[in-house]
């Protein structure tokens, strides 16, 4: 089945069971609808997202699996970080609903046509989506929580480890 897709698209073989296809944002819906209807890649097992803040893009990987569970196809595309919008895949892969909802919550990507883009794991979240890299986790934590003070006799773990290693090394050299 992958051979017929290879005639249509520029599919690269990464491993024995893993194939990769890089597409543009414009041909996203057309490609996915073609693959879902005319090949045996019938399961959408994952949508992975990476935030490339330096290039101002999100890189999304749609990972499809065959009916026999013997081949995986990664479909990679880039979308701009600002106005990150994509059409939903609900019509071809119903299981995309939860994944898109998750991505909307964690990265703020809007999936046009998905009706379930409300709160998922975070309730009443008013900050910027937390998995975006401009979100400063440590600043947020310092602002919202008080930390417990350590014990008075606590020691720096790194210093102690260094001391023990030096001691072990010294003993080893002495034995030689």
């Amino acid at each position: 089945m992958i051979e017929s897709l290879k005639q249509q698209y520029n599919i690269e073989q990464k491993e024995s069971r893993l194939f990769k296809l890089i597409i543009k944002k414009e041909e996203f819906l057309k490609t996915l609808s073609f693959i879902s209807s005319s090949s045996n890649f019938i399961t959408l097992s994952q949508i992975a997202c990476a935030d490339w803040i330096e290039d101002e893009i999100f890189k999304l990987n749609y990972i499809l699996t065959t009916k026999e569970r013997d081949k995986n196809l990664m479909i990679e595309l880039e979308i701009p970080r600002e106005e990150s919008k994509l059409p939903t895949l609900l019509n071809f892969f119903p299981q995309a609903e939860v994944m898109e909802r998750d991505l909307h919550e964690m990265y703020g990507i809007e999936f046009i046509g998905n009706p379930t883009l409300y709160d998922f794991a975070l309730e009443n979240w008013k900050e910027i989506p937390p998995m975006r890299r401009e979100f400063d986790t440590l600043a947020y934590v310092n602002e919202h929580f008080d930390f417990r003070k350590g014990r008075e006799d606590n020691r720096d773990v790194k210093v102690e480890i260094k001391r023990r290693r030096a001691e072990a090394k010294r003993l080893k050299n002495a034995n030689k």
Binding site: P115, T116, Y118, A121, L122, E123, N124, E127, P130, F135, T137, L138, Y140, V141, H144, F145, D146, F147, R148
Partner: protein, 204 residues
């Protein structure tokens, strides 16, 4: 006694734990009975919940100390907050705790409830549990073994029996503004969890 086993009842009846407080005789009896029948709410918040099945089943069999699991908060005396507590979970924990009948006690299991543990810089996990609900017994470790949990139970039994510490539910009743203010700090005005699921648009 076989080596490696601790006689918990012996620890409990140790003379150094003799009653020193000013309980009346009836109160002493009531507290003794109370310490021998602890009903634990079957509820797990984090990864620590995985230590509770061996504690309650035949391997460690905590039922010999009078600790039994129950299904609803209305019947429970003890709430185990087992592990990290996210905002979303904490709301449910508070809701469950407020539904429990007094006297009620909280055991906090794991490092995450003490200082955040490995989630110390997480945007979504609370760092100190006792800011939001009163904790009667901390069991540290990541994760604590069932033995540690049993020791926590025994210490808590001791505290209850001998009225050593002010119980958490009294603190919660008397300092309610403090706890509510802390809860409000992270929840905003949405302290009461709304259980109305929004299924709008899902009837495809």
């Amino acid at each position: 006694m076989q080596e490696g086993f601790i006689d918990y009842q012996k620890v409990l009846n140790n003379e150094e734990h003799a009653i020193k407080s000013t309980q009346s005789v009836i109160q002493k009896a009531v507290d003794w009975f109370r310490s021998k029948s602890m009903f634990v709410l079957a509820y797990g918040t984090g990864c620590g919940a995985i230590e509770m099945p061996p504690t309650f089943t035949s391997r460690y069999d905590i039922e010999r100390l009078g600790v039994v699991g129950v299904a609803t908060p209305r019947q429970a005396d003890i709430l185990i907050v087992s592990g990290y507590c996210s905002y979303k979970t904490l709301k449910r924990v508070i809701r469950s705790y407020e539904q429990m009948n007094e006297p009620k006690f909280i055991i906090a299991l794991g490092s995450c409830t003490i200082n955040g543990g490995m989630y110390w810089d997480s945007y979504n996990t609370i760092k100190r549990l006792e800011d939001y609900i009163p904790v009667d017994m901390f069991v540290n470790g990541c994760m604590p073994r069932p033995e540690a949990l049993i020791e926590g139970f025994v210490k808590l039994q001791d505290n209850i029996k001998n009225a050593k510490k002010e119980a958490g539910y009294i603190k919660y009743r008397e300092n309610n503004e403090f706890y509510k203010a802390n809860q409000k700090k992270i929840f905003g005005d949405n302290i009461e969890p709304s259980y109305e699921a929004n299924f709008e648009g899902m009837n495809r």
